[in-house]
Symmetry: D2
Subunit: 304 residues, 4 copies
């Protein structure tokens, strides 16, 4: 068997002193003070072994990675009805996500652009009795770890500065694609994004996406077909307008967040998480992208 | 001298029984119940004579026509500094005004598209001690008529349904082009649009735009150069994406509102207002456009 | 009466030594060698007097100014049928004229953007027996000057480098909005743009647009209504995406060309032409725009 | 082992009498007469077995499927230099591919939209001594079949009607992203698209993409890394603006053409081709998409 510990150690060694680490996101004030030198990797094989290096146990704001959890929960509730309210196509567009929403009459391109994730949040708060508590509980169960929590000051920070998300939610509302109040949907959405997890917890929580819908606690949560579909969306839409680049360079379904985290997976084989807070110009973790590219190059493990 | 009363009478006769009167705006619930058969014309010559026919004394919601008053007030306060925050070019685009705002980094195309008018509203509430009272007072003074008022239920109606304007205001805020709180700016903006005036009052209030900035009360309110510039913006941007059509068919600076009103003017000669609530597909009064085209055709009075 | 000679002399004096004269167009190789210090003004009153200063008798490439001649000829042939194949709205868009054409299914926004002028050229070659000879003859008659000619090397220069126009013509063809062969239409179009005229000739040729359709030779060529409509299009669309700015600053219908010429007019009053080859970033003559703004400011003669 | 013959037989049975088979492409006149009832499937396992059903030996126009061959040839010549002239991101946009090209200054989104494929064609004719002969030879070698040929009348048909491709090529030329003459590049491009192959030949020719770059004749033609990258582009960009949908429903890298063919593959496992000429509204074979979805559902073989 491959010496995975050696592989991730060598990747970590190669990149930990890299000077150009990208820029820590500053549009959410609470996130702007994170030390850009944080760098962790956590790898979990489906067969059970785990490997880690660096800051793999330091919690960080998972941000857009939470959209995968929310999608899986909504998909479970609504099945294919979900796709009446949003699409599964890559957005392709870096700069004008509201433009696309206008052109397409309020139907978001996919569940991972902000407008799509806001529609998912709307669906969840219509379904859940205690949306924030229930969602947190779901993530804790997936990760099999009850210590996971919202960071309230990050949620508050987004609430007072996230004007672009207010614009998107109001535009959705103007097209009739939001059932609940803008304030309620965004309160949930900002909390969802403000969950803090470390690389180990993220890897555990994504286990089910590499394992046909069966989570770490051995509960079947989604059908194999639904899992396959979520993985497809991660591959085509998981990295903003750099999704093609990630598929091209890394070749794994995955999801990034502006907190600097990335989770990626090879079905039946492994889940891997990285964290490095500095972002490239497209908003994905610069060192994380490089680490995952190195990982699939060294191990020759990719879906392609 | 031309027999203007005869001209407007014959136009009114020709159009008052027209079956296809357009559709009354229904996106603001409070406006949807207006009788589409209302139809009035009021003409005021700079020389002092007045002519009217039909429902020229029935008040209606002036809606976007108010943007001309707001622009003139802001232009007076800020002079050419105004153009640091918005432009004077036609938008050309029917369907994607937020798209343009994204493409152009939060600088609205002109003061008459909603995003531009929201920037003007933001400027006014930064300048005025009692924004709503002071603005209403300004309009009353221009019209020389203290009976003019806000329709509070129209303002409230827009406040609870104007999600597209919330989207625009939040997008402006995300680009740093809004100083005040979204809620405060839109409260002012929805009130501004909810002023009720009749054709006579509108004609009186627009007198200064045909008279080098001197209003009916003989007060010089803007410089000749500023008035010329506002007239130019009315001509190029006053009719949404039908501005070219209005210039082409009518050939006068003017402004329409979704309440069904239109005001147009020939500098040094006259101001004319029409009201007919049914709108054409571009959102301008269908019968009003036809009446004004007939007026300039019959009188051969246009700027071209 | 105003001392017009003094007015244009003082404008010429103020601007002739201006250091920042804009950049001479270099995308048409043949035009790139013109001396940026050329600067002429020619003013013709409807009453008959003429005033000139500077290089008002040096011929230059009229380029897009020719679109007004072509439009007037096509309008005369086809009347309002013309508007089945193109619109009269400002394009508003600096950068993506083909985008608009795609969004609007091959119907150009107006006759002065390139795609619209190409449709007009297509109409003319379907109508004319000897398109190039007949068109040149028409311009000579309007100007009452048989010395006007095509510059063949400029036409050839555009033919070998005008890829964007080939793109537009082929896109029109793909939408079925071009009757003739792309090569034939563009050969005519490039010749039309390659006519050389001086300020005096341009002013003479535009006389009919300020005189209800009656040209210098006292022939009624278009109806008053058609002339009014062409003037409206000049005002709203005559200056690319700076049309609003020109209306705002100058307040006259007019048309510019990348050869550095501008013609503008006040109906019933005057026609004025300027030539200064350096362009501002929007593609309009920098000094010419300033000269015309100064002219309307000093004389207070504008349509607004 | 799975009974693959049974699987494809049952899929063929289920779909061969389906009434709604989509519309045969009519924009290329030569293709419009194909019988919509043609339907073939050919499956080749990397292990060597082959399975087929229906019209798997009837040649058809491969059209856009040829773009994968062209990309692989150009990638081999230029390596990663290729990506200086085009990108690898999904285009996301159904209707305005020239718009995107304008917005992105002449850099096509990916090698599978027409503008990107035209850039690839330009690269190939700069590299090849006898472009058309050499390219055909390359395809024959990949398929190990010298009977493959261009259909000259299809190539001629596109040449006289492919105005949109002329528009794209001229736009690329205007941005300096085309080295050769538009006519030469498109002559090559229209021939490339006019190659005729049957399902068996296509499956054979794609063998190397499922086999780390080693073709049927056991020649290593591209590196494993290059093959992985081409597969990634097929997955994210291979089905126009339905790429997300194909990834979601089918979950295999693949490429479709308007001739009704689709090829898809699972690395290390198999290549499968389908042919059914009727297209869905997005331009992909309607029955082919359904057949491939059924295949991955029944066999549970997908990359996700």
């Amino acid at each position: 068997m491959m010496d995975f510990q050696h592989v991730i150690n060598s990747i970590h060694d190669d990149l930990k002193h890299e000077v150009n680490r990208g820029l820590v996101a500053n549009y959410i004030p609470e996130l702007s003070h994170i030390d850009a030198n944080n760098f962790g990797i956590y790898l979990k094989l489906i067969s059970g072994e785990n490997f880690s290096v660096g800051h793999s146990n330091t919690p960080f704001s998972i941000q857009s990675i939470s959209k995968v959890f929310a999608l899986s929960m909504a998909f479970n509730f609504k099945g294919d009805q979900l796709w009446q309210r949003l699409d599964v196509e890559p957005s392709g567009d870096p700069f004008n996500h509201l433009s696309l929403l206008e052109l397409e009459n309020g139907i978001p391109r996919n569940p991972f652009i902000n407008s799509g994730a806001i529609v998912i949040a709307d669906i969840l708060i219509s379904q859940l009795d205690n949306p924030k508590a229930d969602f947190l509980n779901y993530v804790r169960e997936l990760a099999n770890d009850n210590s996971i929590n919202y960071n309230e000051s990050v949620a508050t920070s987004e609430k007072t500065t996230g004007f672009n998300n207010y614009a998107a939610a109001n535009l959705l509302k103007s097209y009739g694609n939001l059932e609940n109040k803008v304030e309620d949907v965004l309160d949930f959405y900002f909390h969802q994004c403000a969950i803090e997890m470390n690389c180990e917890q993220l890897t555990s929580a994504f286990f089910m996406f590499a394992n046909h819908g069966v989570c770490l606690q051995n509960i079947k949560r989604l059908s194999s077909s639904q899992i396959k579909r979520i993985n497809a969306i991660m591959l085509t839409c998981g990295f903003y307008d750099e999704a093609g680049e990630f598929a091209f360079e890394v070749g794994l379904p995955g999801k990034s967040g502006v907190g600097g985290g990335i989770v990626a997976l090879l079905p039946n084989q492994f889940v891997i998480s990285t964290w490095s807070p500095g972002l490239n110009p497209k908003g994905n973790s610069k060192i994380g992208m490089q680490a995952l590219e190195a990982f699939t190059t060294k191990t020759k493990l990719s879906i392609f």
